[in-house]
């Protein structure tokens, strides 16, 4: 059995983890401002500026906030849909709904972000609907970014939650009703606790994908900056790769913490 595991472990354990390790090492190097060459001298300067420069603190905080809001919005939207798909819809409707949820998942990421650029544009449908009421489109910015990201990752939340609720046996619903619980109480005390690991599993995607995004931010965010933008803008030959590496350690640390917490709920078996 060990022999079978050797190739995937070499790939993931040595190459991928090795690359992540090298990223951490690079974050401790510096770049010569003059030549643009990376100098392999140990320094904590990158982390020092990351912690002390206000802009980076603001961007980190903003990114975590957007990731949290997107995750909560997706969970609140996904739970009723998943419940409907798993326990209310007929067999046939269930099949169609799975397809209806998957379609946007497979439609290109860029197309969806781009579609919201059209929605939020100055002469787009949102402005068209809002103007008779004396309102206007919120335009490109933090709000548009949050809406677009919540839209993009919604299927990643619906699918695990759907699978999680589908696994709750019907007999538990009946037992709960027999014991005198109303629908809401059944939801609150039976379904939600049992589906919780699945919700956490979905949240890993919504949180992580939001935290690393920079493309949707560029498309609908206007001048908004998130951590992904800082990483992207600092990579490449002309820029500061060691600093980009230092910025990239923030999502790594946050996600490792998130995964460790998620593991305790049993969420990782729901991925």
């Amino acid at each position: 059995m060990g022999l079978l595991l050797t190739p995937p472990m070499l790939w993931l354990g040595v190459a991928y983890l090795g690359a992540l390790g090298a990223l951490l090492v690079t974050s401790l190097w510096s770049q010569n401002d003059f030549t643009g060459e990376i100098e392999r001298i140990w320094t904590l300067d990158n982390f020092r500026s990351l912690l002390t420069v206000d802009v980076y603190r603001t961007i980190t905080f903003r990114t975590l906030m957007v990731a949290a809001v997107v995750t909560v919005v997706d969970a609140v939207l996904a739970f009723p849909i998943a419940l409907y798909m798993a326990k209310v819809a007929s067999r046939r409707a269930q099949r169609l709904l799975v397809i209806a949820v998957l379609m946007p998942l497979w439609a290109s990421y860029l197309v969806k972000a781009y579609a919201w650029r059209g929605m939020f544009s100055a002469d787009g449908p949102i402005a068209w609907i809002a103007q008779p009421f004396g309102l206007d489109t919120p335009g490109y910015g933090l709000f548009a970014t949050t809406v677009t990201l919540a839209y993009l990752w919604l299927p990643y939340m619906i699918l695990p939650v759907f699978a999680g609720i589908e696994r709750v046996p019907d007999s538990l619903f009946e037992a709960s009703a027999d014991l005198g619980a109303g629908s809401w109480q059944t939801l609150r005390r039976v379904v939600i606790p049992m589906a919780f690991p699945a919700i956490v599993a979905g949240s890993i995607f919504t949180f992580s994908l939001t935290m690393g995004d920079y493309i949707a931010v560029k498309i609908v965010g206007g001048t908004t900056q998130m951590l992904g933008n800082v990483v992207y803008d600092n990579q490449g030959a002309a820029n500061n790769l060691p600093f980009a590496a230092a910025v990239a350690t923030i999502p790594i640390v946050v996600m490792l913490g998130y995964l460790a917490a998620a593991r305790r709920t049993g969420a990782l078996e729901n991925l």
Partner: protein, 269 residues
């Protein structure tokens, strides 16, 4: 089970959200026929002009071909590694099992900028290798392994190992058993995993921008680079519309291939 009122609210809620989900996609389709190249709403008129231009666009064609090549190669690697990992972890309960599962999930659990930057830094700064089509394939294969792994593992969990044991009892060796029993048992799971892996790679842009050289343009990179150019925007919109329509094909196939819906589909990323 659930009260009548709650069921009705759930139905209405689901329908409303689904409508909101599809409105932006419908807008992309409609705008591909919009005569106005800044996509004013409501459209002033309809035209097939952009579709013709898009069909003739060499840049879009080249990018499409690059994306297909990358997705196929990444999928082949992911199929091999994902199947091996699932077979290796099967029936074993050794201490490292959780570590291996975590390692397989990690490339999709970490944000794309991290995986992308780690590979770029690894290739260029550490190993001194120039970025190319191959560096994209290596990075893509890494996060595609999980789709194959999940599908194969779910299939193993569902079918157990009785058939293989029977085969061995009847005198077949390991290789014969794999060829005649294990592989046929896995075939549809492998196809579903390959399909997901292809889709994941085909659509990926974040890791790709970090691991592609300036000569290698995948379709998402081409779209992104042309998105903000006024004279290219209508053509990009047509390509986007085509992608929306074509996204129905893999879903249809994956639905037919995977036995239960939960299996195979939730391994989407």
């Amino acid at each position: 089970m659930l009260s009548h009122g709650l069921r009705r609210s759930l139905t209405v809620f689901t329908l409303v959200v689904l409508v909101i989900v599809y409105v932006p996609l419908a807008l992309v389709l409609l705008n591909s026929f919009n005569t106005d190249n800044t996509f004013g709403w409501p459209p002033a008129g309809l035209t097939l002009h952009w579709w013709q231009l898009a069909w003739e666009s060499q840049g879009a064609r080249d990018a499409l071909w690059t994306s297909v090549k990358v997705a196929i190669m990444a999928t082949v690697v992911a199929l091999a590694l994902g199947t091996l990992a699932a077979m290796g972890l099967r029936r074993t309960r050794f201490f490292g099992r959780n570590v291996v599962s975590l390692l397989i999930i990690l490339p999709i659990a970490l944000p794309g900028v991290v995986t992308g930057l780690a590979f770029q830094n690894g290739f260029r700064t550490i190993l001194g290798i120039d970025l190319s089509l191959w560096t994209i394939v290596i990075a893509h294969a890494t996060f595609c392994i999980v789709t194959v792994f999940n599908n194969v593992q779910a299939r193993f969990a569902r079918l157990g190992s009785n058939f293989e044991q029977a085969s061995m009892d009847l005198g077949a060796g390991r290789l014969t058993t794999f060829r005649l029993v294990t592989f046929p048992m896995l075939r549809s799971a492998l196809l579903a995993g390959a399909l997901l892996s292809f889709g994941l790679s085909f659509d990926e842009i974040v890791v790709t921008t970090f691991t592609a050289s300036s000569q290698d343009q995948t379709l998402p990179i081409w779209i992104f680079q042309n998105l903000f150019r006024p004279n290219q925007a209508p053509i990009v919109n047509v390509v986007a519309a085509v992608l929306v329509v074509f996204s129905a094909i893999p879903i249809y196939l994956a639905q037919r291939l995977s036995g239960s819906h939960a299996e195979g589909l939730t391994g989407a990323r």
